[in-house]
């Protein structure tokens, strides 16, 4: 099993007062990864895209834009102009403002749902891989069953039964993405647990929790981080899809998916209403995908 996935070099923390053998002259791993990332223009471009939206979303309250829910009956469906750089919607609300506030909902949903999936999935996967036997069989069968339900259909079903709201959409997407992380963490744990450094820690009498926390987790982290980055992209599209269907963020709170749903009804009169939210989803998701792909290559020890 250990040949299937190449586990990255173990990180052993030297004890205080220990004599350090003078063999290792490689730069620390983190900076090597950073070096590799920096040489990939597409990964950098992805990071810049994501970073821009994150900054806009955080800065939303202090930017000189009108409140996102403030309508102006004198400016209904106004095409992009100096007053409204991206135009206004059917209630005369400024689209630039709604786009920026909508970024908050999208990014929050993407990140929170992946955090839910990682927090639920990784411990289950590690336990399955570590314990083996019946525990593994049970967890694995359930994982396979959930993986058989198409991601979006599963999320729609959860959201439908939980009730429509942004929080429930995040939970629905998080739960739907959990099996991906269970499977990944299980496979990685299986590969890492036969490594010599885990064996020797066990032989040295290190406690089970301690082994999992200090030896297994740090070594299975890189692929999980890569998967998490790519899953944020999927989660953002899923949130937009749920909101588009009316199962996510509820009006009048701004969300890109919901804005697209409204825009669909005014395609002939106000095509700009459909342009911005879609373009924003596309760019953020592209950013996460580019960055995730770059990160995968940078963390892969086989790539020089």
């Amino acid at each position: 099993m250990s040949t299937v996935v190449s586990a990255p070099a173990p990180r052993m923390q030297p004890q205080a007062g220990e004599v350090q053998p003078q063999i290792e002259k490689l730069p620390p791993r983190r900076s090597r990864v950073w070096e590799k990332l920096r040489r990939r223009p597409s990964a950098l471009f992805g990071a810049v895209l994501v970073g821009t939206f994150v900054i806009l979303a955080i800065a939303a309250p202090i930017l000189p834009i009108p409140p996102p829910a403030q309508g102006d009956w004198g400016a209904i469906r106004v095409a992009p102009s100096l007053d409204h750089p991206l135009g206004t919607d059917q209630n005369g609300r400024d689209l630039l403002s709604r786009m920026i506030w909508g970024a908050q909902a999208s990014l929050l949903a993407g990140v929170v749902s992946v955090v839910i999936a990682v927090l639920a999935g990784v411990p289950l996967g590690v336990i399955a891989g570590w314990r083996g036997g019946w525990t593994d069989a049970t967890i694995s069968r359930i994982t396979e069953a959930l993986l058989a339900v198409p991601f979006l259909i599963l999320a729609i079903a959860f959201a439908a039964f939980l009730g429509p709201s942004l929080t429930n959409a995040m939970i629905a997407i998080g739960l739907s993405a959990t099996p991906i992380f269970i499977r990944l963490a299980r496979g990685q744990t299986l590969a890492v647990k036969t490594e010599d450094y885990v064996e020797s820690a066990r032989a040295a009498g290190v406690g089970q929790m301690s082994i999992l926390w200090r030896y297994i987790l740090p070594n299975i982290a890189p692929p999980i981080i890569v998967q998490a980055t790519l899953t944020v992209a999927t989660a953002i599209i899923a949130e937009a899809s749920l909101s588009f269907l009316g199962l996510g963020q509820q009006p009048p709170a701004p969300s890109w998916g919901a804005m697209l749903n409204t825009a669909k009804n005014f395609m002939e009169q106000a095509p700009w209403m459909a342009m911005w939210p879609g373009a924003a989803i596309f760019l953020v998701v592209l950013g996460f995908n580019l960055f995730g792909d770059g990160l995968r290559d940078a963390l892969d020890p086989r790539e020089s």
Binding site: S42, R141, I142, E144, A145, L146, A148, V149, P150, F151, L152, I153, L154, I156, A157, F158, A159, A160, F161, L162, G163, A233, I237, A240, S241, F244, L245, G246, L247, L260, A263, K264, M267, E268, P271, A274, P277, G278, A279, I281, F282, V285, L286, N289, L290, D293
Partner: protein, 315 residues
């Protein structure tokens, strides 16, 4: 061969069982008393009790499950609260529409994805490869409901070439049927084309490095023959299985695509059911798609066996 399929079917049973438990438990997530919803205006305690008795709601959960799964195994997925039709017949009615969409989407996906994958593998590292990769990643990143809206804006509203809605069944009006399906199928096909392109590319790259390709080149065959006859045939094996596995993505994508182009298929059925709080329909759809996905998996494995002679001899 039969033994292989039989064994795979046996393995699928526990998975299907777990999915059925999960789908059954979904309805228990609902807040409130389901009987109140069924009774409507009539809040007479005797009626409520009769309904509870009728739906076995007084029994323990596990007994309720067996009543439910017993009915499901006989093809009874319950009744739609909204239309008072059996869920099974609702699903069967919508399936052909989505099937047509899925087949047309797959044609677009293979037609775009495979040639792009071949070209970018053959010209690895060139600008062509770079552009193909970027297009593929964009295809994966673009929300397909937005692509649908853009296409309607361009093709229907501005150019007036294709209708944006007004689907007719293929058996009633084939021309109209295909016309209205062209855009949705393209939208649905692009995301899959991106996945297919990436798989074809990596499969081609592996095959192009193999000994028999080098031999074929060494004996002086023209490059075109080497690529089309020797490399592509072998590279397509994993691609075929991936296509079968994309089935799930197709169904999920159909939910949004059908919504935008108002196609009365499977996806529209889910969304309408969600909005009408028609939970029996939602349950039925989750169950049917999952079982369908598992069957497609089985089909993919079988196709892989048939296409790969080395696997065929293995027990």
């Amino acid at each position: 061969m039969l033994a292989f399929i039989g064994r795979r079917l046996l393995i699928a049973i526990p998975t299907v069982f777990i999915i059925s438990v999960f789908v059954f438990l979904l309805q228990k997530l609902l807040p409130g008393d389901p009987v109140l919803a069924l009774a409507g205006e009539d809040r007479d305690p005797a009626t409520l009790e009769a309904l509870r008795e009728m739906y076995h709601l007084n029994e323990p959960l596990i007994v309720q499950y067996f009543y439910w799964i017993g009915a499901v195994l006989q093809g009874d997925l319950g009744m739609s609260l909204r239309t008072n039709q059996p869920v099974t017949s609702l699903i069967l009615e919508k399936l052909p529409v989505t099937f047509q969409l899925a087949v047309m989407a797959l044609i677009f996906a293979v037609g775009i994805g495979v040639p792009m994958g071949i070209l970018s593998a053959v010209y690895k590292g060139s600008w062509l490869d770079y552009i193909a990769n970027f297009v593929a990643l964009s295809g994966l990143s673009i929300p397909n409901f937005w692509l649908g809206i853009l296409l309607i804006l361009l093709v229907s509203v501005n150019l007036g070439w294709l209708p944006a809605s007004g689907y007719r069944p293929f058996t009633v009006d084939p021309v109209r049927s295909i016309e209205t399906m062209l855009m949705p199928a393209f939208v649905l096909g692009t995301a899959l084309a991106a996945t297919l392109m990436r798989h074809t590319r990596s499969a081609m790259l592996t095959v192009l490095k193999s000994d028999y390709v080098r031999t074929a080149r060494a004996k002086g065959l023209r490059e075109r023959v080497v690529i089309m006859k020797h490399a592509l045939r072998n590279a397509l094996v994993p691609v075929v299985t991936v296509s079968a596995l994309l089935f799930g993505e197709l169904l999920a994508g159909a939910v949004l695509t059908e919504q935008i182009f108002t196609i009365p298929g499977f996806g529209k059925l889910v969304v309408d059911a969600v909005f009408n709080r028609d939970y029996a329909v939602v349950q039925g759809i989750v169950l049917v798609t999952s079982v369908g996905f598992i069957l497609m998996n089985l089909l993919a494995d079988t196709a892989y066996m048939i296409l790969n002679p080395r696997m065929r001899d293995q027990k």
